[in-house]
């Protein structure tokens, strides 16, 4: 099979290989960018960087030995472990269920869809302590549903699931909405079955959103206080999460230990965010 080459060339037939990306256009130097960057940096510093630095500073006050001792006291270590493990499980459940809910909201049509779509954001609106109270009423000792999760780790996970539900749904939903349906039809006409289309066409396009939604859910989850404080019953070594343990330390005027445990949480969150970012970059480079 051969074909003649076109004489004219605006289609790029026969264009020699070379850099395709046009050189990024340089912004005209001037005030607007500097002003924008400056404002962003000042705002970020005031709201995020300085408070975080203060926490780190506080935790390092008494040296690394003290820090290590603070985070490895039996109750602090147990709280950290529970928090991280529960958050991983919660984030993974969110990954699957959040993607599924986003899928249903975008691809299916059913009565009440608009209502459901609005409901998704409610966990954000409800004060988390109220959420904890409601969960305790529903899944506590006097559960009208006959499910008693009070003072259990499952109860903690349910509370975390409640408050972190919107993250994956709301990151995946817009990407799914924008996804070119023609791609799926093209794959189908090339012989791909539904599962193959999902795995090879849809999933790779959703993955970045799924990963960032999951990361958000995870980081939100390890810091959660309000919703867990009631349903967990704060049993040290059993259901006490890190945020509640920190609160206890603060109440006992042990702020340096509280800062140390907080720093441990920050480090975990930071490592997870950086790792996921690297994974994504690696993934997008591979295509």
């Amino acid at each position: 099979m051969t074909s003649k080459i076109l004489e004219t060339d605006s289609t790029g037939l026969g264009t020699p290989p070379g850099p395709v990306r046009p050189v990024a256009r340089r912004r005209p130097p001037g005030a607007p960018t500097a002003l924008g960057l400056g404002s962003a940096m000042i705002f970020l510093s005031l709201i995020v960087l300085i408070p975080l630095a203060a926490v780190l500073w506080k935790s390092a006050e008494h040296g690394p030995g003290f820090f290590w001792k603070s985070v490895t006291t039996p109750d602090a270590w147990a709280a950290l472990k529970l928090t991280v493990v529960a958050s991983i499980i919660v984030a993974l459940i969110n990954l699957v269920m959040g993607t599924l809910i986003a899928w249903v909201l975008v691809r299916d049509s059913f009565p009440g869809k608009a209502v459901l779509d609005t409901l998704i954001d409610l966990p954000f609106a409800l004060p988390t302590i109220v959420a904890g109270l409601v969960l305790l009423e529903l899944y506590g000792a006097d559960s009208p549903l006959g499910i008693n999760l009070a003072y259990t780790r499952v109860g903690v996970a349910v509370a975390l699931l409640f408050v972190t539900l919107p993250f994956v749904v709301r990151t995946v939903q817009p990407v799914l909405l924008e996804l070119d349906r023609d791609m799926e039809q093209a794959a189908a006409s090339l012989g791909a079955g539904n599962w193959t289309i999902f795995r090879r066409i849809i999933l790779p396009n959703l993955l970045p959103a799924m990963v960032s939604g999951t990361a958000l859910a995870f980081t939100r989850s390890i810091a959660e206080f309000g919703s867990t404080v009631l349903i967990s019953g704060n049993l040290p070594f059993k259901t006490q999460v890190a945020a509640v343990q920190i609160f206890g330390q603060i109440e006992n005027d042990n702020t340096a230990s509280a800062a140390a445990v907080s720093t441990a949480l920050l480090v975990v969150a930071f490592v997870v965010l950086v790792t996921l970012d690297l994974v994504q970059r690696w993934g997008s480079r591979r295509g």
């Binding site: 080459i5 605006s10 020699p16 189908a188 006409s189 295509g287």
Partner: protein, 319 residues
């Protein structure tokens, strides 16, 4: 026949899109489904590909009834107006997709994809992503992807619709030559009559969900079945209650048998041709003549000329 669509009906809600449409596409042909937008041509193409289910009617591909067959199993190549490139895959992987689905051996896939890359002149672009290609290049990639699985028929839905005029013209000519080389039965949808006439060997005119006429470009242009087809396929003007192609109008200085007197209103030179706008009684008409003739007749506004349909002119009574 490579494709037979028989008595296809399709409605979206209350809107009927295809009404008892029957089309036959001979093996190895390059057929255009031509018509105005909303005429049902894209829907018909999608019904053939299995991307849409007809409400009634039968689709046969290579003699086999595929009406209830999923698109995956029809062995058609489909090219979309907006390329439908798999944007997370390289050009190579896009083209290899159908072969990978069919679990062909790696070295065979490699060989076939490189053949196709050469065929569509994208050999140097194998490792690029679709976002790094121009529109014309993306569409050629989509074409190679569809051809990779050696489809029974190749279906193209407004394949050049999203491209600018210059690229569109080049790709048209290229598609024609590609078809001469590859000989796969091809159906493409277009609303551009010039594109259909230039590229296709058979034209099916679809409007309002019905087939208005089908035949060779020559047939539909010269012997339009009705006023709609005549108007859609090229310029027309009205002369004495009949539709005539402006280039079929004969202008003379003196009256001839069957001619009518007209007053020239405007003479527009369009390079090699001259457009003469005239007034006949209470009607406007125009004729397309050569520069030589315009000069010989000294056509100028206010002059009187005599017009009649030329001896070979095809005319159609205005209903």
């Amino acid at each position: 026949m490579a494709i037979e669509a028989r008595h296809i009906n399709k409605a979206f809600g209350a809107t009927s899109v295809l009404q008892d449409v029957s089309v036959e596409v001979p093996s190895g042909s390059l057929t255009a489904l031509l018509g105005p937008s909303g005429g049902g041509k894209s829907t018909l193409l999608r019904v053939i590909a299995g991307l849409e289910q007809p409400d009634s009617g039968t689709v046969l591909i290579a003699g086999a009834d595929v009406t209830r067959l999923a698109p995956q199993r029809r062995n058609v190549g489909f090219v979309f107006q907006h390329y439908a490139a798999f944007k997370h895959m390289t050009v190579f992987d896009n083209i290899a997709f159908g072969l990978q689905i069919r679990k062909r051996p790696k070295n065979e896939i490699h060989k076939r994809v490189h053949e196709l890359l050469e065929l569509v002149h994208l050999d140097q672009f194998a490792k690029r992503y679709p976002a790094q290609l121009s529109g014309g290049q993306r569409q050629r990639m989509a074409l190679a992807r569809a051809l990779a699985v050696e489809p029974e028929v190749l279906l193209l839905d407004e394949p050049f619709g999203a491209l600018d005029a210059q690229v569109r013209k080049e790709l048209r000519a290229w598609l024609r030559r590609l078809h001469d080389d590859v000989h796969v039965t091809t159906v493409f949808v277009t609303h551009d009559q010039e594109e259909a006439i230039e590229v296709a060997d058979t034209i099916v005119v679809l409007a309002g969900g019905r087939v208005e006429q089908s035949g060779s470009p020559h047939e539909v242009y010269d012997n339009p079945a009705n006023e709609f087809v005549m108007r859609f396929l090229g310029p027309v003007t009205e002369l004495d209650g009949r539709l005539v192609r402006p280039h079929d109008i004969e202008l003379t200085a003196e009256p001839e048998p069957g001619s009518a007197e007209a007053t020239v209103e405007r003479v527009v030179r369009l390079g090699f041709e001259v457009r003469v706008e005239m007034r006949l009684g209470d009607q406007d008409a125009w004729a397309q003549v050569t520069r030589g003739l315009a000069e010989r007749l000294r056509l100028a506004p206010g002059e009187t000329v005599h017009v009649r349909p030329g001896p070979d002119a095809r005319t159609l009574a205005v209903v």
